[in-house]
């Protein structure tokens, strides 16, 4: 109902409100009508004129309107995945893995996909600051150079960074520190792998992590190592893991054992999963070591004793293609893991210490020493880059201020930069030069893909300036590479040519520094003792989430809205309990519990019930409670029933980093309750008895079979499912000569990493809706990873099923749209025409898969800088319009039009949907179902292939390949 104020707005250009009219209701309405009509007519004018502003001097290689791709290296975490970034109109828009790269080989994880949004973050630090006031670079440089002058002869300089691997960066740091009396470079990773490197120093004489080749592992045992999700290098490991399982023959398929104290994506997709209490881990490893090396030993009291005996047998039988991984941060345990691997012949087959991984180089002992130095007030200059120690060590945060001069190089305001004397921000990795050596012998470049949007300076350049070197960034990099790296290869004689190739390809192989490092048994140490929780106490396990990790990307709305593949919650900091533990405590889903321990301020969190979790364990996610989450107070649409995601000044969740040393906690109900923002309520594959029909049907939309059963019968996964013959809706005279696009999704390869979800969001301008809208099941993700748990006992097997628009041949949605906004294309796509949609929502009502997303609001796009991240090839939908997976029709169009102009034909593999492109395990395949030689057609015709809800006869174009596990017979 328009108010008089509204009416003025409508009329302001054209018609003055009529005066002198009587103010009765009829006259008022008449006035209203005229005003609205005038306003309506006013909008019926010529379309607003837009300008075309071409370049003055066009760059040679870039054609306006065409995307171009540049190779760089993702630096969203220190893993160093090679990336190929699609740029349009001079701005990087879509991160993709670099094909052929040693680490990523064409794929990228969810965090890497989301990192492009952080480039366009208007809340980044724009220029240097003195405390919290902007200043000039000269001010900061003079102050720091002066401090350095006095430090040449005496005083301590410490540079604290995350894992940095680049040869030029490390050389610059070293030459900077060499000019000081007592300078040291300390690295740490919040998700630490320090114990692995320290253990190898003890057992192999080299402080390094071996490169893991999972593709070679026939028998793999992982202990608390979420190598597909939150451990280091998930893309590389996922690719290897999937490769070892691609061949479904019993003698070729790997067996993946998983022992964990939490519930991770990796554990869910393992062949055999066992719950392990945290205090049992050292004993389990010790037992396994005794079994593998000696073949005997004293029987343990562990709950998994029998499994360990069987596992040891299998590992020994697979000697030379066996592997044991462990993610604990206990050096003693890791040395024993090394012992097991050495006995299994893993070094040289599945593990390679000669070309070691440099993806986590943090040294926990060095960090501890640094804290002590800071505490004693003996640090004169502290430079912090790439890490947030005030957040990762909250109890010690105040110690940072004890440094005489504290300089932070944070890109965004964070807990650490708030304490710094000077902030000299680093640019985002997409707008800066960088160098990496993620694996020994694989050097890579990060190159800027856009003129810096904010006024920043890399660590390298800042150190150079403070050393009096006025060279520009590129000159520094080239000089260092020519001096130190170029000589490590002999194939190319000209540095200019080698450098140009490096820039073009994104990475280059040079001689590793490697060397032989045999195992020394006397390096094996005992593990630190752990005790079981007593009384009603719980063991506290701090788990990172796939999207949040250690919290470094907590300010990224895409990652906060990502429905966690384990808990299926978004925007929540949930504590997880097993069903039995929850029953014991008397809590149900969403009840808030209080977590207490001696000397700690109590934590409060809502409970999520997680089947498969150990009954004595309570998990809590890392990376929450960050100050940067205060920006989400107003996120999402504002309407009168809507609740804010956060109150003003409130942070999302609690920071649990201070609880790293706390093993056992008391958990109590607090009496409060929270409606959790979940995207999936029901996750079991079993139909409850009271609902099951007489013959006890199991929901068969997620099918699975064992390797053994498949070997006997290729259609074993479909046993027990019987559907009547499907009636064909269209008469056969409607011949289709063109392609019929479809997808094949391999459930045995999908582990729930959710890279596809973020890739789709980045590619298709999917909006962020905020916590309250997610709670109302109005999340906008076009693809979701449904989580299904099979087995009702203590140990559940998890199946992850990516679900998107199935592009049905007999689409129910197409029949019900009153305006034909959704129709079928000649190439098999179910199209959604946004400009025709009037928002009836009948289509979403009819969709059996519930994959249609409705724009209930005009989701805010007020941040002009953030809007630069939008893909110009995809419409940004307005309120009242239905949207859904389009099978990346913009990519299909681009490929078809381009080959048409070139006079060629589209080949299988030319078109890749965003979800397919980024998947580390290549679980999703797109192609022409009508081409019998295409990969998708061959997969769809295979024995494992089925379609979800086939019995409805909607003829989906998306085929799923049944999940395959390899348990013991």
């Amino acid at each position: 109902m328009t108010t008089p104020r509204n009416m003025q707005r409508l009329d302001q250009q054209l018609v003055l409100p009529l005066e002198g009219e009587s103010s009765d209701r009829r006259s008022f309405l008449r006035l209203m009508g005229f005003g609205v009509a005038a306003g309506a007519l006013a909008s019926c004018s010529r379309a607003p004129v837009s300008k075309a502003v071409p370049w003055l001097t066009a760059p040679e290689d870039i054609t306006a309107g065409r995307a171009y791709r540049m190779a760089t290296t993702c630096a969203a975490c220190p893993t160093g995945c090679g990336a190929l970034v699609t740029c349009k109109d001079g701005r990087p828009l879509k991160m993709e893995g670099l094909p052929g790269h040693a680490v990523s080989d064409g794929a990228l994880c969810a965090v890497g996909q989301a990192s492009v949004l952080e480039l366009y973050d208007s809340q980044r630090i724009d220029g240097p600051q003195r405390s919290d006031k902007p200043c000039a670079w000269a001010d900061a440089d003079v102050a720091i150079a002066n401090a350095l002058d006095t430090l040449k002869s005496a005083g301590r300089v410490r540079i604290l960074t995350d894992t940095r691997t680049g040869p030029a960066t490390l050389a610059t740091i070293q030459s900077f520190l060499a000019r000081t009396k007592d300078g040291r470079h300390v690295m740490y990773d919040a998700l630490s792998c320090s114990a692995i490197a320290a253990a190898h120093l003890a057992t192999h004489g080299l402080r390094a992590m071996p490169r893991i080749d999972l593709a070679k592992a026939k028998v793999l045992a992982a202990f608390d190592a979420d190598f597909l999700g939150t451990w280091y290098s998930p893309v590389e490991h996922a690719r290897g893991w999937a490769a070892a399982r691609r061949n479904k023959q019993p003698d070729a398929h790997s067996r993946h054992w998983h022992f964990e104290s939490s519930m991770s994506v990796t554990g869910g997709v393992a062949d055999i999963r066992r719950r392990l209490a945290p205090h049992e881990l050292p004993a389990a490893i010790a037992r396994l070591a005794a079994l593998v090396t000696g073949g005997g030993g004293i029987r343990s009291e562990l709950s998994c004793e029998a499994d360990l005996v069987l596992l040891a047998d299998e590992l020994r039988s697979a000697r030379g293609s066996a592997l044991v991984l462990c993610g604990t941060n206990d050096v003693g345990v890791q040395t024993q893991v090394n012992q097991i691997n050495a006995a299994l012949g893993a070094y040289g087959s599945t593990l390679d210490l000669g070309t070691s991984s440099r993806q986590r180089r943090g040294d926990d002992a060095a960090v501890l020493e640094l804290w002590n130095e800071l505490d004693s007030g003996s640090v004169d200059l502290l430079i912090v880059a790439g890490v947030n120690p005030a957040f990762d060590f909250p109890a010690r945060a105040s110690t940072l201020s004890k440094a005489r001069l504290f300089v932070s190089l944070a890109t965004n305001h964070d807990e650490t930069s708030a304490l710094a004397h000077w902030t000299c921000p680093e640019p985002h990795f997409l707008e800066r030069w960088d160098d990496h050596e993620a694996q020994d012998g694989v050097v890579a470049i990060g190159q800027p893909l856009i003129q810096p949007l904010m006024n920043g300076r890399t660590l390298r350049l800042s150190l150079a300036r403070w050393s009096g070197d006025q060279s520009d960034e590129l000159a520094l990099l080239k000089r260092s590479f020519e001096a130190n790296v170029f000589s490590r290869q002999k194939d190319i004689g000209s540095f200019t040519r080698w450098w140009r190739d490096l820039l073009h390809n994104g990475f280059a192989r040079v001689a590793p520094r490697g060397g032989a490092h045999p195992f020394q048994p006397n390096g094996v140490q005992a593990a630190a003792a752990r005790t079981a929780p007593s009384g009603g106490e719980f063991a506290l396990v701090l788990t990172p989430k796939v999207g949040i990790l250690d919290g470094r990307h907590a300010h990224n709305p895409w990652l906060q809205e990502l429905a966690d593949p384990v808990s299926r919650l978004a925007w929540e900091c949930e504590a997880c309990l097993s069903p039995a533990a929850a029953a014991r405590l008397g809590v149900s889903e969403g009840d808030v519990v209080r977590i207490e321990a001696q000397g700690m301020q109590a934590l409060r969190a809502p409970v999520h019930i997680l089947p498969g979790l150990h009954d004595q364990v309570i998990t809590f996610p890392l990376g929450y409670g960050r100050a940067c989450t205060e920006r989400f107070a107003g996120i999402g649409p504002k309407w009168w029933e809507g609740e804010r995601t956060l109150a003003q000044g409130q942070r999302l969740g609690s920071n649990v980093a201070a609880w790293r040393e706390i093993a056992h906690v008391r958990v109590e109900r607090s009496g409060e309750h929270v409606e959790l923002a979940t995207v999936q309520d029901y996750r079991s594959l079993e139909v409850p008895a009271h609902l099951a029909p007489a013959h006890g049907e199991v929901r068969n939309h997620v099918r699975h079979a064992s390797v053994a059963a498949l070997a006997a019968d290729p259609h074993a996964a479909h046993a027990g499912t019987h559907h009547p013959a499907a009636a064909e809706l269209w008469s056969p005279d409607h011949a289709n000569s063109g392609p019929r696009f479809g997808l094949a999704i391999d459930l045995s390869a999908c582990n729930g990493c959710s890279a596809c979800v973020i890739a789709c969001q980045a590619e298709n301008n999917v909006p962020v809706v905020g916590r309250d809208e997610v709670r109302r099941h109005r999340e906008m993700a076009w693809i979701r990873i449904d989580r299904y748990e099979s087995g009702t006992g203590d140990d559940v097997a998890v199946h992850q099923q990516p679900m998107m628009c199935q592009h049905c041949g007999h689409a129910p949605c197409e029949s019900v749209c009153p305006v034909l906004a959704t129709v079928h294309s000649a190439d098999g796509l179910n199209q959604q025409v946004y400009n025709r949609c009037v928002g009836t929502r009948y289509c979403a009502n009819t969709c059996p898969y519930k994959v249609r997303r409705f724009n209930w609001f005009d989701y805010p796009h007020e941040d002009a800088l953030e809007n630069h991240a939008l893909n110009p090839d995809v419409t940004v939908r307005t309120r009242g319009v239905m949207e859904k997976c389009s099978m990346c029709v913009q990519r299909i169009q681009e490929a078809r039009l381009e080959v048409r102009r070139l006079g060629l034909a589209v080949e299988d593999g030319d078109i890749q949907t965003a979800c397919q492109q980024t998947c580390p395990t290549q679980a999703i395949v797109f192609g022409n179902l009508d081409d019998p030689k295409s990969k998708v057609a061959m997969l769809a015709a295979g024995g494992r292939s089925y379609r979800v809800l086939e019995e409805l006869n909607v003829a989906p174009s998306v085929h799923y390949l049944a999940d395959v596990r390899n348990p013991r017979a």
Binding site: L14, V15, F34, A37, A38, L41, A42, S43, C44, S45, R46, A47, V49, S50, K51, A52, V53, P54, W55, L56, T57, A58, T63, A64, G65, R66, S737, G738, V823, S825, A826, D827, L829, Q831, V833, Y834, N835, R836, D873, V874, T875, S886, V889, Q890, Q893, L897, E898, R900, R901
Partner: protein, 225 residues
């Protein structure tokens, strides 16, 4: 009419107001921009360049067959010729003869429109960069523009043999570029429909381009995604 009531008066006044209002704002239905011929920052004449001089459309609009957008050429392309050509040849010739008669060097004549080009590029009359002056890109007024919900791709049309004139009219005769087609969806779909089956229909219907073979999509998602 027995008597003029205030109601009748209001009704007539309303009709007159509406008519006057609509006629000032727009005489065509929404979305029909045919006839649009905006003034441009430089009065560039297609009649002179494309018509009289015979320069090919795709010499300047070089991206038309490679990119979804045909694009307006960068100023650097204009300078390919206008680095040396500063004014109409007859004007230059006249000055040359006058200079010869007066026994002096011929002055460089810069036509006023070309002066605007050199100003944009921050070049002086001798076409050398002026130190300290920043070049300012030219802001052309778009003549042919489609709504944001339409994804039109030039390259496929150009590379499949659709002549520029069939959609843009006889541009080589236009002093100032004018939109001659309605560019409405119906107008586009008509040509697409005629070409979907056998390609003959397009020529017969008077579209000025050779027969386009193959399937031309009439799927919604061909243009709306």
């Amino acid at each position: 009419m027995q008597r003029w009531t205030s109601k009748t008066f209001l009704l007539i006044a309303g009709c007159v107001a509406c008519t006057a209002f609509v006629s000032t704002v727009s005489l065509t239905l929404p979305g029909n921009d045919a006839g649009h011929a905006p003034e441009q920052p430089i009065a560039y004449s297609h009649r002179l360049h494309a018509g009289e001089l015979g320069i090919d459309c795709q010499y300047c609009h070089f991206a038309a067959d490679k990119s979804p957008v045909a694009g307006i050429p960068p100023a650097s392309l204009c300078m390919n010729c206008h680095n040396t050509v500063t004014a109409k040849s007859d004007v230059v010739e006249a000055e040359k003869q006058l200079a010869e008669k007066e026994g002096r060097l011929a002055r460089t004549i810069i036509s006023p429109e070309l002066k605007k080009l050199y100003n944009a590029l921050a070049l002086d009359d001798e076409r050398k960069p002026i130190p300290g002056r920043k070049p300012e890109p030219l802001r052309w007024q778009r003549v042919h523009d489609l709504p944001d919900f339409v994804a039109f791709d030039h390259r496929v049309h150009v590379s499949r043999g659709v002549a520029c004139q069939s959609c843009h009219g006889a541009v080589e005769t236009m002093e100032r570029v004018q939109q001659v087609s309605t560019l409405s969806m119906g107008w586009c779909v008509e040509c697409h429909r005629l070409n979907t089956r056998d390609g003959k229909g397009a020529v017969e219907a008077g579209f000025n381009h050779p027969r386009v073979e193959g399937h031309v999509s009439t799927d919604c998602a061909a243009c709306h995604y």
